[in-house]
């Protein structure tokens, strides 16, 4: 199929692709699937009872990828979608999701994606999710992603989420349940400006022996925007959890960070680090001594922080 220029632009923003991708994919636009491809190892089946798809990845599938971008360009659309991923034993795959809203209208556009991942034993998944909004309309652009992860013995899941621009409101919930010898790495990058609001909540249940998680959140809150970060790591057995939350606050923005670590076992080793602060004056001065203006220095610091 061929994509129009707006579709290409949005795909570039959210999935770093400009044409239909290689491998398996499902492109959803304005509440409907517009392109789909499956491979011999990866099947994509539309759900019958509700909107969404099942992505079934065979065991031992290696070096394959699945792209499931979503684009919203229609006026006043609220799109709710349920995508379930079943990743077979020993598979090693990359999954690229992401949602872009182009809203030129007065009505609100909203996409709520509920993604559930079922990881079988010893599989490895890298999941990349990017959220982006644009458009000249006064209508709000709202994205509420929910991610639920079930990890069986020996599996690993690496999740990278990015929301840098144009989303007026987001409530992001992630819940994970880890069995033994599993690893979950979550990296979040977030920037809000104007009057935007972002709320992020992570809950990681370390249920199996030697399960571990690293959650890193770096965010920048500008102008009058607000952010809320809630993280909860529960160690129910011998396990390791590390949460690192760093926020740069600017102008009149507000940031709340609520850490919670729960050790229900003597060998649960849990760490939470949180820091909120404005850009350090000596950082700006250092970059000015290299020839940058104050504004350029600020941009470099923020870009580096969110890289």
């Amino acid at each position: 199929m061929s994509l129009d220029s707006l579709e290409k632009h949005m795909l570039k923003q959210i999935a770093d692709i400009e044409e239909v991708p290689m491998g398996a994919y499902n492109i959803r636009k304005d509440g409907k699937g517009i392109a789909r491809n499956t491979t011999s190892n990866i099947d994509i089946v539309p759900k019958k009872d509700k909107p969404g798809i099942d992505i079934i990845i065979k065991e031992n599938t290696k070096n394959e990828s699945v792209h499931i971008p979503v684009i919203l360009t229609a006026e006043g659309l609220k799109d709710v979608v349920y995508n379930d991923f079943y990743i077979g034993k020993n598979a090693d795959v990359v999954i690229v999701a992401g949602c872009g809203i182009h809203n030129n209208y007065c009505e609100t556009s909203e996409h709520d994606g509920i993604h559930t991942f079922h990881l079988e034993e010893n599989c490895k998944v890298r999941y990349v999710e990017k959220h982006y909004g644009e458009g000249d309309g006064t209508g709000k652009r709202i994205l509420n992603p929910e991610t639920i992860i079930f990890q069986k013995k020996g599996s690993s899941f690496e999740m990278e989420t990015v929301q840098i621009k144009g989303v007026d409101s987001t409530v992001r919930n992630t819940v994970a349940h880890l069995e033994e010898d599993t690893n979950l790495v979550i990296t979040e990058r977030l920037m809000t400006h104007g009057t935007q609001h972002a709320k992020t909540s992570f809950e990681v249940n370390l249920n199996g022996e030697n399960s571990s998680t690293h959650v890193t959140s770096r965010s920048v809150a500008k102008e009058n925007s607000t952010q809320e970060f809630i993280s909860k790591v529960i160690g129910n057995t011998k396990s390791f959890g590390h949460v690192e939350c760093d926020a740069i606050i600017m102008d009149k923005a507000k940031v709340i960070s609520t850490p919670e670590i729960v050790a229900n076992h003597l060998d649960a080793n849990l760490i939470h680090e949180a820091a909120i602060g404005k850009i350090a004056g000596d950082q700006i001065i250092k970059l000015m001594t290299l020839g940058l203006t104050e504004q350029e220095a600020e941009e470099q610091i923020i870009n580096g922080f969110l890289k």
Partner: protein, 244 residues
């Protein structure tokens, strides 16, 4: 050439610098030394524009730069290595070297700068300038950055602080290399005899005043006498100032 004319600076009702007149010629390696609290770092910051003097003027290559900000002075060719290097979450060694040069750099170039300060580029180039680096590593990266910037006039504020002996020898080589290659001026704020011994000129500050300024051969022997420091400074000041 940098000229400081009658520079005074007060802070919290305390005189930090008093009527400083100093000329640093192009191509000279000048060490500024003196006891703690003598005003050395403040003087360095005033040259870079990080502090504004209460009175006096600063001329750089004949141009009055007194009212210029840090960025303008950096663009004119003044560089500054911090005594305590600044950390940046997210920015890497490569990012900062590139910002210093103003260009993208090849790995081989970064390798040259980093190996000059005794760091392996492969290991360090993509490292973030954060808490994972030791004080000595940060200091060496800071110096590599200034080497890359190739300023006409570079100030190093206590470059030896936090650096081990092995790196210190590298450091001296870096200064000599910069001195030879750029043919600009290098000003080092230091207490280290070894650094003073490679300077062309030494400036001695005490209580915010230049109490002596001359060729290394003249000043260094006076500083290295076995006298206790107080009597040494008294001697240098002709016995005029009380020792603090």
């Amino acid at each position: 050439m940098l000229l400081l004319q009658d520079i005074s600076f007060n802070r919290d009702n305390k005189q930090i610098l008093s009527h400083i007149n100093l000329r640093i010629d192009t191509g000279k390696f000048v060490a500024i030394t003196g006891p703690n609290g003598s005003g050395k770092s403040t003087l360095a910051k005033i040259i870079m524009g990080m502090e504004k003097p209460d009175s006096g003027a600063i001329l750089f290559d004949g141009q009055d730069i007194t009212s210029m900000d840090i960025t303008q002075r950096a663009k004119l060719g003044i560089g500054f290595a911090f005594q305590q290097p600044v950390k940046f979450k997210g920015l890497t060694v490569q990012d900062l070297i590139e910002l210093a040069t103003g260009n993208k750099i090849k790995f081989s170039e970064a390798c040259d700068y980093l190996s000059d300060v005794g760091l392996c580029a492969k290991e360090y180039i993509h490292r973030e300038i954060n808490d994972s680096l030791s004080g000595g590593e940060l200091k060496r990266i800071e110096i590599a950055m200034l080497e890359a910037k190739k300023s006409k006039f570079t100030i190093f504020d206590e470059p030896e602080a936090g650096i081990d002996i092995w790196s210190f020898n590298n450091l001296i080589q870096v200064f000599e290399k910069m001195h030879d290659e750029i043919k600009g001026s290098i000003v080092v704020i230091s207490h280290q005899e070894k650094l003073l011994s490679i300077a062309d000129e030494i400036v001695l500050l005490n209580s915010g005043k230049v109490v002596n300024h001359g060729k290394r051969e003249e000043i260094l022997p006076l500083l290295l006498t076995t006298n206790r420091s107080c009597s040494r400074f008294r001697e240098l000041e002709g016995g005029a100032t009380k020792c603090h």
